[in-house]
């Protein structure tokens, strides 16, 4: 299993290299990091422009520029930002934990919810609860995540207005200044997580519950499940030990494949709730043509996606005894 994990990591390195080069080239050729500086009125003196050009390595050709950025990565240096006081590595590290807690929590909730609802709707196929859950699933699938998030935010604001106190946090990832003490801080962060997590989780839940339902229906109709019932095992045992375990195996792949789109969804959700997370960093980097920040951001996102895919593949071995990573 360790050898398998190592081999997978080694295989993903070239993908990351090529991906980062393409993103770097696209970002470099499509935007001018000096644009805001040159647009200033009165125009800045040529010496300032020359200094900025040298600081951002704009005097180098594309390939050496990329290689020097790549070399810097090994020293923990993500390259110079267009905002000279800003260190890209610190920005990424600080915001990473803000975004990842939203992403992971939303994923866990969406998974639990989709398994429960998927199983119930599969067992009670064509019942009223099945139709209701199916319709809701389709509805969430068709709903733009930002629209749902804005609605939730508005609901939170109106609830606060009705109660007359700040019962639900609608803006930011934590209070400023942060409350004193570990527990108070934790409660504050959890409180800020509620609405964004619901908004992000519901979208994934919709797709996954449909998938669990279909997968569960397939296993419920298989011969070995009927045999297990026929030989007199209790219904509950058959459902959980025989059917559910098999039905969940493909879900790990689907979840891993969706992680990139959940990060994308987090970018949108963070914008609605005005979080200063990775999403905000991405959007600002795009707006200011911050090539190094942009490429570093996408590299971090790609690493997260690859790590999650690796975990999913390893889980496969745990869930499915037929698969052994020899």
């Amino acid at each position: 299993m360790l050898a398998f994990a190592l081999r997978r990591i080694v295989i993903s390195v070239p993908i990351l290299l090529v991906a980062s080069f393409i993103v770097f080239a696209l970002a470099t050729y499509s935007a001018d990091p000096l644009g805001p500086l040159l647009a200033k009125n009165p125009p800045p003196p040529p010496s300032v422009i020359a200094a900025e050009t040298a600081r951002l390595h704009l005097d180098q050709a594309l390939v050496p520029r990329y290689l020097s950025w790549l070399g810097g990565l090994f020293r923990g240096d993500f390259g110079p930002s267009v905002v000279s006081t800003q260190v890209i590595g610190d920005q990424l590290a600080g915001r990473f934990w803000i975004t990842i807690r939203l992403v992971v929590l939303a994923m866990v909730i969406a998974l639990l919810l989709s398994v429960v609802v998927g199983v119930i709707t599969a067992v009670k196929q064509y019942s009223k609860s099945d139709y209701a859950a199916t319709f809701l699933g389709f509805l969430f699938l068709a709903m733009p995540s930002f629209w749902l998030a804005i609605l939730l935010k508005q609901g939170g604001i109106e609830f606060n207005g009705a109660v007359g106190t700040q019962a639900i946090y609608t803006i930011g990832s934590s209070s400023v200044p942060a409350p004193k003490g570990f527990w108070a801080n934790l409660v504050d962060i959890a409180g800020h997580l509620v609405l964004p997590t619901i908004a992000l989780a519901l979208i994934s839940y919709a797709a996954w519950s449909r998938f669990v339902r279909a997968s569960m229906l397939e296993t419920l109709n298989s011969d070995y499940v009927r045999l297990a019932r026929a030989k007199g095992l209790p219904r509950r045992t058959v459902m959980v030990k025989h059917a559910l375990r098999t039905a969940l195996i493909p879900l790990t792949t689907v979840t891993a494949l969706d992680i990139a789109s959940i990060i994308g969804g987090a970018v949108v959700t963070e914008r609605v709730f005005q979080w200063k997370g990775l999403g905000d960093l991405l959007l600002t980097s795009i707006q200011t043509s911050d090539v190094y920040a942009l490429t570093s951001w996408l590299l971090v996102a790609a690493v997260v996606v690859i790590v999650f895919n690796l975990i999913a593949d390893l889980l496969y071995g745990v869930l499915d005894p037929r698969i052994r990573y020899a």
């Binding site: 991906a19 696209l26 930002f146 629209w147 970018v267 795009i286 707006q287």
Partner: protein, 314 residues
């Protein structure tokens, strides 16, 4: 026998399919093929949710194009009434500068529909060909081509599309090309899976035995046969493409003023949710209706093509 048996080639069958009634009675294969299509068609007609969705979607398209052309206000036209709630004169109300919201929403709907058509056409064409070639040849070619697709799939779509949209975008067709330029990778994954199972079929072997070139086998045998199942799997991507465009426009990296899009309308309305809620609800409702109907149609198509999937043996 009016014709020799050798004339049952692919092109002949295609011509026969176009002119029903011209087929001689003894062409059993043509008859069998048609009845399969009829079966699929009949199953689709019986899928109530899919049929209702199809009617709603057709009505929506008519409303967006015909209704939008007939409606007394144009997109971006400023009327003397500003911030009017929904009324007879302005069924969807007006915004702060007096733009008629019905005209705006219908304009945005047209953009969303156009984006989805362009994305579907290009992403399906590129992705199907890419996946077919990879799946057909296998081996090293497959590895390299699928690694390239993986590379696209590794990056969050919204992030890359926002970057490209900011730098190259603005108008709806550029946004559509950006989305299609990322979506083909999903399509190629689906197409490869379908082709992998098809390439072992007897008729491929027969075609090869008859001396058909690889290009001919891919274009004349693999792609047409794979297309049905690929399209069924892709209807959900059409809805996702629409949602992606609205999300990009919401973030400010999609369709820009003076063009309008449903995402842009929601984005502009989000600050006025308490004072002018109609600006927020109507474009959102239209996004939901479009995506919902397309998903239901996809569901109906899936059931029609593969009735096994939903049937329960009691």
């Amino acid at each position: 026998m009016p014709e020799p048996r050798t004339s049952t080639t692919l092109t002949d069958q295609a011509q026969l399919a176009q002119t029903p009634g011209a087929a001689p009675v003894d062409r059993e294969f043509t008859v069998a093929e048609r009845s399969q299509t009829q079966l699929v068609f009949r199953r689709f007609l019986q899928h109530r949710a899919a049929m209702i969705s199809l009617v709603v979607l057709v009505l929506l398209v008519l409303l967006a194009y015909v209704g939008g052309a007939l409606w007394k206000y144009d997109v971006g036209e400023i009327t003397p009434d500003n911030s009017v709630p929904p009324s007879l004169d302005h069924p969807f109300g007006t915004d702060a500068v007096g733009k008629d919201q019905l005209a705006q929403v219908l304009g945005g709907t047209r953009i969303s529909l156009q984006v989805s058509v362009v994305v579907t056409l290009f992403a399906t064409a590129i992705g199907t060909l890419w996946g077919s070639i990879a799946g057909f040849f296998g081996g090293r070619i497959d590895t390299v081509m699928m690694r390239i697709a993986d590379l696209v799939l590794t990056l969050p779509l919204v992030a890359v599309a926002a970057m490209l949209g900011h730098n190259f975008g603005g108008t709806w067709y550029l946004i559509a090309f950006v989305i299609a330029g990322l979506y083909w990778a999903y399509v190629s994954r689906v197409a490869r899976g379908v082709v992998l199972s098809l390439r072992e079929k007897e008729y491929i072997e027969a075609a090869r035995a008859l001396g058909a070139t690889n290009t001919r086998i891919i274009l004349r045998h693999l792609v047409p046969n794979a297309l049905g199942s690929i399209l069924v799997n892709l209807t959900i991507l059409v809805a996702l493409a629409i949602l992606l465009e609205t999300a990009l426009s919401y973030l400010g990296f999609g369709v820009q003023n003076p063009d309008t899009s449903l995402g842009l309308l929601v984005s502009e309305a989000q600050t006025a949710l308490t004072t002018r809620p109609w600006l927020f609800y109507f474009p959102g409702l239209f996004i939901i209706i479009i995506a919902l109907t397309i998903n239901f149609i996809g569901d109906g198509l899936r059931d029609a093509f593969d009735p096994q999937q939903t049937k329960v043996r009691q």
